[in-house]
């Protein structure tokens, strides 16, 4: 295939040249996929709709990513990238401080609108669709929790990592998704002071 500049976004069937493949085209499709999944959620998003937003032929979307679930996984991996840095916070210092480092990191991701918005879209899709849940499961289980668990020195490290994640996921659900008060408006430092010891205990207590 010949190289092509990314096609401008517009309606209607793209022209022959626009459908030519290139690394740039792949990025355009990925950006369109993130936009479509964020706005419509997994179920209402189609490969055809992603192709139209990207201004390319649907065949190109399949060429680069495969099925709709595979496009979603690629889009989620990008949106989820900031959170996937969490395991490195475990390595950054002594295990005694892992609870606070991990809690502060996750709060940072959620408090930043730029990283919160795509996370909300992922959570909404995962809660409502089994294919999206499977993607989310692989991502947090294998790329996030397993990596944290490998660094723990307790029995059942993977279960411990998941229980710690459960406290953080639950706070995110009530604070950012359901928005229950007073938690939704509470000072992050006040919440972190309460949550960090719990995360620490799950990850390191005997």
């Amino acid at each position: 295939m010949t190289a092509a500049t990314p096609a401008p976004r517009r309606r209607g069937r793209p022209s022959r040249t626009e459908t030519a493949a290139s690394p740039a085209t792949r990025e355009v499709i990925l950006a369109a996929a993130r936009e479509e999944f964020s706005e419509r959620g997994y179920e209402k998003t189609s490969v055809r709709g992603i192709a139209k937003t990207a201004g390319v032929d649907p065949a190109l979307v399949h060429h680069y990513f495969g099925t709709k679930e595979q496009v979603f996984e690629a889009a989620v991996a990008v949106a989820f990238a900031p959170a996937l840095e969490a395991p490195s916070t475990v390595e950054e210092g002594p295990l005694e401080g892992v609870g606070e480092r991990l809690t502060r990191f996750i709060f940072g991701v959620w408090e930043n609108p730029a990283t919160r918005t795509p996370l909300l879209a992922i959570v909404r899709s995962a809660v409502n669709n089994e294919s999206a849940a499977a993607v989310f499961r692989r991502l947090i289980a294998t790329q996030l929790l397993r990596r944290i668990a490998r660094q723990l020195e307790v029995p059942d490290p993977e279960l411990r990592a998941e229980l710690a994640a459960a406290q953080l996921v639950g706070v995110a659900m009530l604070r950012y998704v359901i928005k229950v008060e007073p938690l939704a408006s509470a000072d992050p430092e006040q919440v972190i002071a309460r949550i960090a010891p719990v995360v620490q205990s799950h990850l390191t207590s005997p």
Copy 2:
């Protein structure tokens, strides 16, 4: 309006007699609403669809419950009823054991498929629709958490109750909704042994 026996479920516009109001009719509508919301979620459910399933005129649904959001709240209140007994578990014994009593109670509700299914439908709707989230918020905030908070002897009791709920909500999300392993298949007693002290600490530690 005159009394009427509950209309049999069937397609098409119901007859005049079927649309007559009665306490029985109200229950038929409520059962139909629970079925519709559970199967389709909040956004895809319509008052017209609920009326059709109940075999009554849509005007009767509005007569008994008002708007779609109000029908949802009535249906949710029924599905959520088992969980709303949680605050009484706090009263059942000394505050020292509240963490385990509350954790065991919530696990009991989630482990029982009969109570888990409607809860899953509520969570899915609340995560994806602001009106449904508002209903869920009112329900858990006012009817569940406020009642628990009133019995606590700590500063910021409402925030404490919400942080405890966050641990339980997060475990439910990862175990029953996203189904992350090993948590999804873990022995409930093993999980309760880890979660109860956290809930206890959130509710009673200085």
